[in-house]
Every structure is written in structure tokens, then in C-alpha cells.
Symmetry: C2
Subunit: 369 residues, 2 copies
């Protein structure tokens, strides 16, 4: 059985999609009346997820795919035809820095293997373009901090593809939590996993991925624990399990359970895995109520319920909403409901580093984000 990550994430939501497709809306966008500035985006790295973003962007109101950057001439040919991108907006990795002279491109969305984000984002910044990184933003905290500094120095914005931060059911749960509708938060659980396919892919190469499942699907549990509880962890414990050391080499985690303690006394229990399908569950438990989401972070439709009943907020195309919102953040300094900047990414990376340290040492690791 050969599953790709995308296939799995698609399958999880497939049955529910039919039910909700009619209600899909580009949340936050005013499709008919918008006459403000449009964020003109080049995508750098034309893999599976980039294709999903490009397709989604066809529904955007405030953002538009206008440029391509790839090491593959074939891909550039195919994509430029498909998305009607002029040749002058297509770059390879050698001439990419010339993008600084291209007045028709505002931002570059880097969707490449984790280890390459650092360099591409810094080159984007030096070219004077706003920088958007897929998550995890980097393979370690040091890289991430350098990326923040580089973008700051260049006077460009740095945003990270936290698409769940704009997902309506997620935001409703966050709103309910903020307004105390669950009472004091006691517990969060995030189970995030899928069975990874092709053993030769970059995600299974530690030098490119910076780790294993934690640097991919695991970040959803880490980030989810933070936005669902509204707290930052102060301690981390973790337990790693490896059943297939051939596929999951040294430095590539297959399955990690991890736990967080928060200042309030609330705790979290999470699991990140590359070796189990069907894991896409969030559970937030408070003294007076709860939220359950399943699927909780796939491409949607997200589904869930709280103690008050089913969550009925509309399904969205996550990447379309994200890019429209990014336009507002870049042009109008709009404050997103949950941060999507480099500092948010650093927090996740600090916590992931603590998870790895806790798994390696078997010790409870203190963390300050």
C-alpha cells in the first residue's frame, strides 16, 4: 500500500466533502466587491502541496498566483501553461535572485523541503519580496531566528502557512475557549498521524526534513495544543517508538507520544506518527464543556462538536482563505486571530526541539517559548 500524505489527507475528508461542498466559501473574502490591492504571489517549489495551493488560489479574491520558481524546466513549462503565468515571471534556482527587479511580484511562497526554507526565505527577503514559508518554517530554532532577522532587516513581512489559523470551526472553538464557554481548560489531546508512503521521499531524509513525523504532521498537534488551550507549555515529556528502523532511519521519528504541562495546570497528550492512518483528532476539555474535532487539521471539511452541539461553521478552502488573509496582513497589518508570523513558528520549533530532547533523554524538559 503506497499512500502519499496528500492522498491520505484527501481521503480523510472525502466522504464528508460531498455533504458540505455546497457551503464552501472563501471565508473572509468579499468576492464581489473587492477593489483593494491584490497580493501577487510566486510559488517557489512546485511539488504536491504547491499544486494544492496554486489550485486553491484560483478562488482567491485578494491574492493571485503570478509567478513560479522551480529547478525543473518541465514543471515551469507545465505550470505556466496551466496557470497562465508569463515567462518573465518564471525563475529557476539560479536566476531566482533576479526577482528583485520584478515589479509584478509582491511575495514568494516557499513550499520546498524543510531544510531549504532558510536559504530561500533569506533570498526572498534580500530580493525585497514578502516571504511566506510552508511549515515547519525551518529545521531548527537558530535557522528560524535568522529568517526572522533577515526579513526584518530587509523590511519585508515573514508569514508561515498556518492554514488552520483561519479555519472557521477551529476559530469558533478558540472563540468559545477565550470567552470561557468551556470553563477553565483542563486537557487537550491531539492525535495526528498518517502512514507515509514512498520510503525515498525527502520527508524521510533527516538532513532535508530536520526530523521525522514531528517535523510534518506532528507540528499540527504542537501548534493545536497552543491555540486550543491558549497557553504555552512549560514542560514537555515524550516517548518515541520505532517499529521500522529501515524506513525510519536514525534521526527520523516514526511515532512520538508527547505531553505538555501548562502554567494553569492544564495538560496535553499528543501523538505524532508516520505509521498510522486515521489519526486526526483534537479534544479540548474544560471544567464546563468540551470540543471534539475529527478531522481536526486535514484539508477539510473539518468536523466537530462541542458540549453545545455540532460545529456548523462553513467549510472553506483553507489555502485560499490563508492567502486572502495574508494579503490583508501584508497590505493592512491586519491582526490574524492566531499569529502566523515567524515568532509563532519559532515557538513551535522550540517546543519540537524540547519534544525531541525529552524523547532522547527520557527526562521532563522545561521549555520557555
Amino acid at each position: 500500500m503506497k499512500n502519499s500524505r496528500r492522498d491520505f489527507l484527501q481521503k480523510v475528508g472525502a466522504s464528508a466533502l460531498a455533504l458540505q461542498l455546497a457551503s464552501i466559501t472563501s471565508w473572509g473574502a468579499k468576492r464581489e466587491t473587492y477593489d483593494g490591492p491584490v497580493l501577487r504571489v510566486a510559488i517557489l517549489g512546485l511539488g504536491n502541496y504547491a499544486a494544492r495551493v496554486a489550485d486553491a488560489m484560483q478562488s482567491c479574491t485578494k491574492a493571485k498566483l503570478v509567478g513560479l520558481v522551480s529547478g525543473s524546466p518541465d514543471k515551469l513549462t507545465k505550470w505556466s501553461a496551466k496557470y497562465n503565468i508569463p515567462a518573465k515571471n518564471c525563475y529557476n534556482y539560479q536566476n531566482f535572485d533576479d526577482i528583485r527587479n520584478n515589479k509584478d511580484i509582491d511575495a514568494v511562497y516557499v513550499i520546498t523541503p524543510n531544510s531549504t526554507h532558510h536559504d530561500f526565505i533569506l533570498r526572498t527577503a534580500r530580493a525585497g519580496k514578502h516571504a511566506i514559508s510552508e511549515k515547519p518554517m525551518a529545521i531548527n530554532v537558530k535557522q528560524a531566528e535568522e529568517m526572522i532577522a533577515g526579513c526584518k532587516q530587509a523590511g519585508v513581512k515573514l508569514l508561515v502557512g498556518y492554514r488552520m489559523h483561519f479555519e472557521p470551526k477551529t476559530l469558533e472553538v478558540v472563540r468559545m475557549r477565550k470567552e470561557g464557554e468551556f470553563g477553565k481548560i483542563m486537557f487537550f489531546q491531539g492525535l495526528c498521524g498518517f502512514r507515509i508512503g514512498d520510503p525515498k521521499q525527502w520527508r524521510l531524509k533527516p538532513e532535508m526534513a530536520g526530523g521525522g513525523s514531528m517535523m510534518d504532521i506532528g507540528i499540527y498537534a504542537v501548534n493545536g495544543a497552543r491555540y486550543m488551550t491558549g497557553e504555552e507549555p512549560i514542560w514537555v515529556t515524550a516517548q518515541e517508538t520505532k517499529t521500522d528502523p529501515v524506513k525510519f532511519k536514525e534521526g527520523v521519528d516514526e511515532t512520538i507520544q508527547f505531553q505538555f504541562g501548562f502554567p494553569s495546570g492544564a495538560t496535553a497528550s499528543c501523538l505524532s506518527t508516520y505509521n498510522m492512518n486515521g489519526l486526526d483528532k483534537f479534544f479540548l476539555n474544560g471544567e464546563r464543556g468540551f470540543a471534539e474535532m475529527q478531522p481536526s487539521t486535514n484539508y477539510g471539511p473539518i468536523m466537530g462538536r462541542t458540549n453545545q452541539g455540532e460545529l456548523t461553521q462553513p467549510a472553506t478552502i483553507h489555502q485560499a482563505v490563508q492567502m486572502d488573509e495574508f494579503a490583508d496582513i501584508i497590505f493592512h497589518d491586519k491582526q490574524p486571530p492566531i499569529p502566523v508570523d515567524g515568532y509563532e513558528a519559532v515557538k513551535d520549533l522550540k517546543i519540537i526541539a524540547a519534544v525531541y530532547e525529552a524523547a532522547r533523554t527520557g527526562k521532563k524538559v522545561s521549555v520557555t517559548v
Copy 2:
């Protein structure tokens, strides 16, 4: 808000109960045609759970409540009237040992604070009566092993009130797992908790309870991890959180997260708490399927689904089925689908001890059961 354990467990199932009440059946019992021996039971300790057992036993076919043991003359008077128990079958804790001369009683079901099981079970055995203990069977492994030895020496059976071991939806999931319908088992999750009420109750006194939530609701997660996966843990990690050190004194755990590793490489993630309501979830995940149960261990109706759909096995009165099955085990050496003997209890207690050790030391603790 003053909740008792019983109140909570009742409430959780209340709304679903109405739907399924019509289908409640004393599973495993042949109500109309039974003409075999009837297990004549005395209940020792007349508290809330004993009342539930006594009421449930009114539905039994193969077991009958015939005797009472209590330190409270008032309770003996009230209960003997309610359940039509002759005075000659009523005992206090002083004259209880005379039960050896009572030919109308076959077994004593000890439903008292955990720390007292050891003594009462041994007295029951010495009186030549079959011994039934509520769970946890004892407050430590040493006590439990002495209870097994004592019952063996006296030639009586020792059974433990593992009511879930006869619950039809639970057994269906166990059957599916045994027959490989979920594929290789990868992960079990058990979240078990309720918010305990009266701070003066024995469950919050470490010398009587032998601990805190782990020695009460937590044993459902421990035991469930074992019967759901069909494996015994080989390592344990655990993290304790205490938010209310006044109510949950030294030696009384409020909330413990714990994780198991199994020989196959499967893992478990569990939570036991006395400070959160709404936690009654099991999740079993295999390579080809899953089971979700919620509620998973309360007094029912248990509800759940697998990858094949809703579980539709009938709701039962757990305690009634348990006592009918205990009759068959005692009289006919019937082998229950999941063990309910003293050895089963020792395994749980060894694992609970490992959980406490792991929580105390912060270390991964090896366990052999």
C-alpha cells in the same frame, strides 16, 4: 458542585439510556429455562456501589443476593427489609467469620474501601466461601498475592468485579481485534476521569484508597489497554499533575497521564483523573481499522463504533451479567472471555505500581506482569 462518582457515571449514560433501555438484556443468562445451581451471595460493605450491585442482582438468573455484612445496624435493617434477607444471613464485622457455618451462602462479594479488601477476602476464604472482590483487588501487589494464596489454600475461588469483561460491545471489539479485523494493533488510548465530590470520602484518603484516581477510575484505562490490545505493557512512563493539593493530598493522585509500550511496538496513551468530568473514551487503532467507544466504561449503555460501523450489541446491566457469569465460573469452571481472577488483578496492580513509580521518578519503568 458536589458530585459523587456514582452520580457522574449515571449522568454520562443517562441520555443514551432512554434510547436503548428496551433492548437491555441480561446477556449470557437463560432467564426462562435455567434450572442449574444458583450462586447465593452475601454482599459485604453496603455503600453506593453495593446498592447498585444489589439492585442489579434482582435481574440475575444464576446468582442471588441472600446475605448482608455491614458495620452499620441501620443499614442491615434497611437492606434486609428491602431485599428480603433473613436475619440469620446478616452479619456485622465482628461475627462475620461465623458465616463459615451458614450453608445458605456460597460467596461473599467484598465492596469496601480498597485497603480493607485484603482482610475481608482472607476472612471470606478462611470461612470456606468463594471470594469476590471489587476492584482494585488490593492496595498493592503483595496484598493481592496473599489474597490469591489464601483463597487457593482454602480451596475457594477468587474473582474480581471486572464488569467490563462481560460487556457485549467491549467483547465485540475484543473479538474483532483477536480475529485481525483491525489489522496489526498500533495504538490504544484510554481517557478515564470524573470530578470527585466530597473531599472527606475514603477515596481521597491514601491509607484507605492506596492512592488516588489511579486506584479508582484509572484502573479502567490500565485494564482496558490490556484487553483492547491483547498485550501486556513492557514499559511505562507517567506524568502527574496536581492543581488542588488541599483536596488531593500527598499520596493521592489527582491527574496522571501514562503511556505504555507493548512488545509488538504498539503504544498506549492514557489519562486518569479525579478532576475532570466527561472523560470516558477508548480508542483502538490498527493498521486496517479502529474502534472508538464513548462512554467506554461507565455503567452504560456503552456506545461505540468501529471502521465497520456502529456497535449494535445490546446494552446490559453490567453487574447482573457479571454475577450470572461468576456463577458459571464458580460452579462450572467456565472460562470468561477476559480473565476475572486474582492473577488478572495482580497484573493491573503491578502496572499501577509502575505508573506511580514512573510518575515519581520521571523515568521509563520496565514492567513484567
